[in-house]
């Protein structure tokens, strides 16, 4: 299980890459492993507003659907449309398979460091 040091993490298993007032959001290695083979991802549209702590997308496996929560508040600037045809990228390389890029961030929830998240995830596994 990978927990890249340069990223921040939410308690609901999203990762965030912060750069200025932009953020890229994806789901963690731990999350993709727990969800199993993903078969589709429902993404928001460019221009949609996202709110910290609220759902902005969902990912589907064969027998389940899971909401993805935004750790930040802002506007969707880009969506990773490649995932629509190849959701398996999230399973294969979760930290490259970002879902959305958010700009104009005005708020964000309390984020965890890689070490803190790893500790939380490992505890959850037990």
């Amino acid at each position: 299980m990978k927990y890249p040091q340069e990223l921040f993490y939410s308690k609901s298993h999203e990762w965030v890459k912060l750069k200025g007032d932009c953020a890229w959001i994806g789901i963690t290695d731990f999350a993709q492993d727990a969800l199993g083979d993903l078969v589709y991802v429902n993404l928001p549209e460019v221009g949609d507003e996202v709110t910290a702590g609220e759902t902005f997308a969902d990912v589907e496996s064969v027998k389940a659907v899971s909401d993805i929560y935004s750790p930040v508040t802002g506007t969707v600037a880009e969506v990773n449309e490649a995932l629509l045809d190849a959701p398996e990228a999230i399973n294969q390389s979760p930290y490259e398979a970002w879902l959305i890029k958010v700009e104009g961030i005005t708020d964000r929830e309390e984020l965890l460091s890689a070490d803190a998240y790893q500790e939380m995830a490992e505890a959850e596994q037990k």
Binding site: D37, V39, E60, V62, K63, P87, E88
Partner: protein
Amino acid sequence: MKLIFERGAEGRGCSILPPCDVPEVEFSRKRETKLCLPSLSETEINRHYSELEKQVYGVNSGFYPLGSCTMKYNPKVNEAAAALPGFSGLHPLQPEHTVQGALELLNRSEKALCEITGMDRMTFQPAAGAHGEFTGLLLIKAYHQKRGEGEKRTKILVPDSAHGTNPASAAMAGFKVVNIPSGPDGCVDLEKLQEAAGEDTAGLMLTNPNTVGLFDKNILEITGIVHGAGGLCYYDGANLNAVMGIVRPGDMGFDVIHLNLHKTFSTPHGGGGPGSGPVGCKEFLAAFLPGKAAERREDGTYEFETPAESIGAVRSFWGNFLVVAKAYAYILSLGAEGIPEAAESAVLNANYLKKKLEDIYPMAYPGTCMHEFVMDLSKIKEKTGVTALDIAKGLLDGGIHPPTMYFPLIVHEALMFEPTETESRETLDEAAELLRKLYRTACENPKELHEAPIHTPVRRLDEVQAARKPVLRYSYDL
């Protein structure tokens, strides 16, 4: 196996219609793309479907204990009755005096089903259980709106053990869904219900017996709490087979219900439909019913009437009429004494099978069950690595249709068995024997079960690939 499109050859076909006896006409907006349909002789079509039929498991292929689906025997006389030209050859918009038998059938079916459920009126428009739920919730919505509380009462309470259709139907009817957690006994947690019920409650949806196969003995308290908060109580009739003729939803405090004629009343499932999901209600909701009711006039003739404040229509015409005809034939066959007898035998068969398995398969809820019971295989999974899915697939190799898997959601590794009353003792004994054998295999050679099934026309299918790269039709241009 070949697809129907991969058989035959250009130019083959059947001779069905005679030449046209009147002059042809032309249209200005014609189809431009070539229509590609199979080019087959009648022999080839027949043989194709015979091949397909070999790869289907029907109610009489063997034991079919699919929980929550009530796969009882589908009596042949029902089929024969529904196939009578006097039913199948009727246009739905014929003058009423030419369809008196059909109207009488609807009227009598309504009366009989109201008697069985303790309701006052019923519509046959809904074509399936989920369709009935949606219809019933619209009645609840119309009721609150008429009382000026439509804006306020926006929430439907649904236990977390409910069928997925319950919350989905509530959302379709414009309600917000409030999940009510089940207690440790699998029944409604009265305290949680009390907390959730209030001025914003439009109603509660409940199955009783519930989806874990238990009769919720607090049912009067439950319906009382909801009524006390000003809400209405909706009965999901999926599990009525356990209690018909024993206790009636109307007497449990329910205001509106749906039935699944294709479960409780023995009409076949057709590989996924047609079903029929009539909705019954108490008198105070009857004016809102959709469609038209077949009423008996004083002179003994019948006519259609639209309820005064009808919500409209949820389907064209009068619903799945032929399915209602089959159910009516079933009611005639069983009669007053046969209906509770069927229920009691369904409960007996479930308890008998449960007893034969409970020493090795942990039951999610011990004690007396109704018409179905739920096993929890999580301990077996922990011990052997064999999952509920593996056991189900092992049953396939043994020639038994597996029970419902992974439902209800509140039980992990759930397998839900509903034997129904139409199975003999030997069938139950054989099923128990096979399940015991599978348990031994799980302990001794779990790998064998991970590999199952091996004797079926195809083996486990790659569902991930099917969903990731959907191929949803044959492409002629390939």
